[in-house]
Symmetry: D2
Subunit: 337 residues, 4 copies
């Protein structure tokens, strides 16, 4: 890291700072400019160290040089990771498509939807049993009954299943029924949940927070991996901006950035990313073109009856059409759906 001293910092302040850095085990190199002195410091730093040093007398700012994530980073592991969830593999040539309704509303609805998305080519099933909702008065999910239906759908279709966990206390229950555990955007910095997900023996689908940077998403993954679980798939699901035509702004460049910075697979969720079903197909095509390692798409047999997120759910026939359009795009980038 680099310590920038204030204009007018005294020689004593600079000397004290250098000594302080040595105490922390850094090697230092001094650059005395006309206006400023800067000190290059080489060694193991933590966020805490930076903050300690930042407020020392005469210091203007500290500029970190290295990325704060380690296990999630490309420097730690050069080759792309493969993450397996049941029969699905994320990070390889094949691009899995996870589909299903936002929420599991009833056995009938879910099995119907499960069967349809399987028929049209989905490789994994999704459906929420525990729903994080902005309003306490909105449908909160079927909970354990939802998990039971999820298992039923898995048996019925043979597809692996993913579902969200919102409460650390439910982790074991959910892990018993699901092939993959989803941590939602609103919980991306719920560090208790991240830590416990790191102790689970199931792969984790970690969604980017509403206003999380790529860096913070990778730090959230670092929590899970450092706790012992390196089976992490990231998910870009749109960030919050000032634009109102879409529900969120799906940041596809984050996918390119994550592939540059990390070895972890990353998928896209154009349903939450746009909030409008009519933008889901074009954004799915774009996501695969930019290199997404999978898609997460909401499909509902009758969106107008959905208990949540109907506006962004595809009708089965539109989903079938999207799957057909994805094939040549995937082929164009050397992959297959």
């Amino acid at each position: 890291m680099v310590v920038v001293m204030e204009k007018g910092a005294s020689t004593d302040q600079v000397k004290a700072m250098v000594e302080r850095l040595h105490e922390f085990g850094f090697r230092t190199h001094l650059s005395e400019g006309v206006e400023r002195t800067i000190i290059g410091a080489i060694g193991e730093k933590t966020a805490a160290t930076i903050q300690l040093l930042e407020v020392s007398p005469g210091v203007e700012k500290i500029v970190p040089i290295l990325q704060p994530f380690k296990l999630a980073g490309r420097e730690f592991k050069q080759e792309r990771s493969l993450v397996k969830a049941g029969s699905c593999v994320f990070g390889g040539t094949h691009v899995p498509v996870i589909a299903g309704p936002c929420a599991i509303e009833s056995e009938e609805q879910f099995l119907e939807c499960a069967q349809l998305v399987k028929q049209y080519g989905a490789t994994m099933l999704r459906g929420g049993a525990y729903k994080p909702r902005t309003s306490p008065y909105a449908f909160q999910g079927l909970a354990k009954e939802g998990l039971r239906i999820l298992s039923e759908a898995k048996r019925f279709t043979g597809l692996p299943v993913v579902t969200e966990v919102v409460n650390p206390r439910d982790l074991d229950d959910v892990a018993e029924h699901a092939d993959m555990l989803q941590i939602g955007a609103r919980n991306m910095q719920n560090f208790t949940l991240l830590h416990e997900a790191g102790l689970a023996r199931k792969p984790i689908l970690l969604k980017r927070g509403l206003s999380a940077t790529v860096n913070e998403l990778l730090m959230a993954a670092e929590y899970i991996i450092s706790a012992g679980n390196d089976q992490v798939v990231l998910c870009e699901r749109g960030i919050r901006t000032y634009e109102t035509e879409t529900r969120n702004t799906l940041d596809l460049s984050a996918i390119a950035a994550i592939h540059h910075l990390s070895h972890l697979p990353v998928i896209a969720d154009p349903s939450h990313g746009t909030g409008k079903w009519r933008y889901v197909t074009p954004m799915s095509l774009a996501a695969v073109a930019v290199g997404a390692d999978g898609l997460l798409v909401e499909v509902h047999p009758r969106p107008e009856e959905a208990l949540s997120d109907g506006a962004q759910s595809l009708r089965p026939q539109v989903f079938a059409d999207m799957m057909a359009k994805l094939k040549p795009i995937a082929a164009a980038v050397g992959r297959e759906v």
Copy 2:
């Protein structure tokens, strides 16, 4: 709410929509324009209902008219609420100042700081025992030992104390030691935690999420109140924007807006809101001028040794100076600190 039909929606689609609304118990009023038909619908709506209707054939969009929050809203309760935490009252003429270090680092550090902030006029103590940190490698707090020190400081100074709870499993422990429980920005939409805070018998300090709207903050409060706890104090602590000169953008207009929309007290946290100690005093003055019902300020005896957030912590002498400057401002708006 208002249902806007698409240009070119058929008479049958309009008729079907009106019937649908009647089934849901709405009274309707039809307005047929040259380009569009719109249907005014009067009745009890939920978020789920809107989504159900939004994807019906021929519908362009649904425009909700009323606010989604009820118990937290001004229409539910006209007069301002008073929330009492130990000897502190939020929402009255007196403006409490909560001060202390970001984290409880040791008994010695915390008692020293507690004693100093009391001496300079703080009315409540703060200090984190459980710290939500972006990096798994950063200091995570002293946990139960931190709670013990908190109690010790409370006995020592006679000031009430507030501390953050991050894990629903810790709620009882924390409630045993603290006079007020803080839910941090990263957990503002951790609905599990909100619900359980609603069952607690202690007042809650609820911080606005990094990119939460005022509306979402009030919905988060609604979770707590609807679960049975109406002792909620809101806290504006800066939102995430593109600006980099400050760590966040402290949105003081949110305080004016909350006073307009809700009966709950709202305080300001200029330490997290700006991220730089030198902006804390001027923004504290502004917060009290705009009508904040309290302040939350980080103070550390030696910021350069702080294990977290040193850059935004005030030295005790600067805190004393801020308290002196606050007095005439509070008086100017008919209050006192």
Copy 3:
């Protein structure tokens, strides 16, 4: 539009409002709910009318129903527009690729670059003669000498050329040399420039402002069209968000949204959109997949010597590689580059 009266608005206030609306030529429909009265108002409204009404006694808010743009909107013209600039057509099956350096630095540099991008498949040349720069001390462009070099490059390669105009006084000069006039992001709401571009006899490339909504971009186009020039191509070039890994956030969903809302062609600029050359190729593929009607890409023979935006410029060989990768993607969506 819909006028929502305040809870507690008096019968007289409602009556006065209805009369006022009739004066403005609206037909009205009254819906009296338990909590609120709302008035549907059908007729020709302007932004000014809304503001006039919004502050009338007893009014809570006015909700506009229709889009504010007309000539730029899909309802005005159903079929997609084709815009022709020299031999290039935007909006058809063919996807033009505009390439060249950010700035014209010298005749030698520009001709070299022009020849290379032509060789690798670009269909239009770009290069700035007038550069809007954040710093007054940065290179501001060669001005008239730049325009001369632009014409020279056009003769030399046979490719049509586009360049930015920043000053209304330069419009005639630029129009004399360029086949298409660019209005940059920083000038998207320079209404003087928009109006004069509407009087020009050349097609306009209008870039989205740094924090403009899709709606505002279409309103800016409306300025140009309503002044008499309907030859407008829009350009998504990244919006400002909190993310720092990329220079801007390229909002590809805006392309899908513009195709839904407007008949105008829209292209993507992944160079400014990401700010890093390594993300330009993947985001170009994604842009074509989502339906972009063209690409605008910065190419420089030696980016490390560029006088502006070197970090986001492609080396010619990387550009050639990108063009090769674009072909199968374009084919996959029924188009060609």
Copy 4:
């Protein structure tokens, strides 16, 4: 500045880089870490230089150390600048309040308003003759006739006047009638206009762009000062965020930041900053408390008849009330209104 070499950059690449820096006139200091080599470079850098170096082989990134602005910066001039516009002085103990309608609509309306705001304590008059409007169909201002009315109001009240200039061609005309020229938010990076404002002999009121950083605002001021006009007053008027309860987010910490970074006076515009008249008074109090060197407030005799921005205009009586409340706040921070 600091040059960070890539992990794995070769010794030759480092050597070449050092030589390159010497060619550009920098003195260098090498720090070889275990993972990275970093090079401290002391000397005069420009934005162009950074970009040139940033794409050299083996370079990961360049970290600038110093602020890019000079003449607008605190390091150039330590003491606060005073800017005089007619009888108004910005930057001193007195806090001028500029008031008036958004637009000059007629002689009658403007003179009535001018007389009222004078009576209630305004020290400067505002009113738009040229209005930058999002829609081409909205009222665009009375142009020259508006300037005539402005002069008339000045004579009538004896107050100095400020009005916006949007077209460089109008600069002379406007300068003839106004004591201060306003450059609006949408033109903050209209560099043509900035440059010509730098040649004007009148003080400039420069508003922050909708999504401009504090740094970019100071760079825009640098354009004007470097062209020869150091009479610049900055204005915080709200930035664009995701929040919808207010029209913009008034960033009061920007005022504290500008006072730290620059010697220029800075005022606040709570009318545009919030977009709702009911938040104007509390935010004005906060602005003065944080240290604003003036206020810009929209007042209209009958907001419900205003041709623009009625929703955010104060009625004269509310303005009078605000002025009364400002007095003790100003006194509390050692100033007067």
